[in-house]
Amino acid sequence: MNGIARFLMGDTTADRIVPPTGFTARLTTFTAAAMAFLAVFALALSLASGRLAERWSAALAQTATIRISAPSDQMAAQTAKVMAILKETPGVASAQPLTDAQQKKLLEPWFGPDLPLDALPIPRLVDVRETAQGFDAEGLRNRLAASVPGAVLDDHTRWRKPLVAAADRLRLLGLVAILLIAGATAAMITLAANAALAANGQVIRVLRLIGARDRYIARAFVRRFTLRALAGAAIGTVLGMGAVLLLPAQNEAGGFLTGLGFQGLGWAWPLLIPPLAALVSFLATQAAAFHTLRGLS
């Protein structure tokens, strides 16, 4: 920690040995700012899809539906049989056959209010709520098949899985984007540092000849680029967080898109971006500087 503090405070004479280079300085600051801005969004995307995956799996995991298809004269008997099986199944918290009115309401958006429900061979739905432990879906399915052939268990996993997988994939993409951004930042800062090192060949030669150590020479460059990256990334992060803040608030209709912001402690994550950018810049410049210095006597 002491070392870091000393590095950041620096000693002014060591800083002055490298001439101010307006162009690479602005380039580095701009690159760091732009990358930090993008990183904020990648992070927001990653966090939001993580939340989404969690919410979907939590909301869907606790419910299931049993669909009973039977001729209308047997419907009541089969429903009763299903209810009896459910009662004996561990992990089922409650089970409730939907009434005609409820079923009608479910179908209304598709078929309109005048649906003659009685005239159609509509299956009966039973709404099942699981306990926290959940039930053994495969066992229940087998038992239903044995005694009520017309009953089909739909535990939502079938359509839940791809949704959760998609959200997980999205989160992964966000993380990959952050890694790519870090890599691109390192590459661009390496290029800028190499340009600065090449432009200051005479400075480096003179310093070597009067007995300055590699570490001393490298530090002057590394410090400069690290501080620029830190400042640029701080600006980019603040702008990125501001932009995320200005996104429309989360609501049901917007779904995923409006949920893109940070929530609660999530706001702390982007604060890691500037120090990380500084670290990336430190390592990249250090490598570039020592590589150049090793080429000189």
Binding site: A14, R16, L207, L209, I210, G211, A212, D214, S297
Partner: protein, 223 residues
């Protein structure tokens, strides 16, 4: 302390220096002469490890310089002050800071009155705030000499330090080097200036080396 053992050097073409053996004893004063292109600058570069011999070895206190780590090379150069033929500076820093650079870059304390005294001795005090690119050739040479001696190094190697200077200023610089030699410093000056050599020999027991036919010889009355 610096010793050459059967040293040869070539830049990739023919051999430039052949079978050179020499000991720069502590406190000795040497001149190095020879026609232009004979290899004087090359010889000096071998002395401070910018070049390594293609045959034989150069040692500093019995250690082969070729085996030095990069930090050891830096350490060695703090003990060897060099005036280069093409005096290079940090062009963005004023003259005074350039002269003090060997102190600041190695973390040694810088005494401002010493710096001023040194700058006035080489006649650069009025120019101490000027940037190196605005200096004349002679002014650069004087600044380079001041920079080479500011850390009071054990060895001072000077490559044509008076090439662009008038006689009076040349004598002033020589006096500085002679005084340093009397304090025990080892001095080696590459020069064509016979008057300078004569003047030095009247003050200190200086030896004159000459590069001839790729070899090092003792020249003139020393032969």
């Amino acid at each position: 302390m610096i010793e050459f053992h059967h040293v040869a050097y070539n830049y990739g073409g023919g051999e430039l220096l052949t079978d050179i053996s020499l000991r720069l004893a502590p406190g000795s004063f040497h001149f190095l002469t020879g026609p232009s292109g004979a290899g004087k600058t090359t010889f000096l570069k071998l002395c401070y490890g910018e070049l390594h011999p293609t045959a034989g070895r150069v040692t500093l206190e019995d250690r082969d310089m070729r085996g030095f780590s990069r930090d050891e090379v830096a350490q060695m150069r703090r003990r060897v002050g060099v005036v280069h033929q093409d005096c290079q500076f940090l062009d963005h820093l004023p003259l005074a800071e350039n002269v003090a650079l060997p102190l600041t870059a190695t973390g040694q304390p810088r005494r401002d009155d010493d710096l001023e005294a040194l700058l006035s001795w080489v006649g650069l005090k009025p120019l101490s705030g000027h940037l190196p690119p605005s200096l004349s050739g002679g002014e650069r040479q004087r600044a380079a000499l001041a920079r080479a001696v500011i850390t009071s190094p054990d060895v001072i190697l000077a490559d044509e330090p008076t090439g662009n200077l008038d006689w009076e200023m040349s004598l002033r610089l020589l006096t500085l080097l002679v005084e340093l030699n009397k304090m025990g410093k080892t001095i080696l000056i590459a020069t064509h200036d016979l008057n300078l050599i004569r003047s030095a020999k009247s003050q200190v027991p200086a030896r004159v080396l000459r590069i001839r036919d790729r070899r090092l010889q003792l020249a003139g009355s020393d032969l």
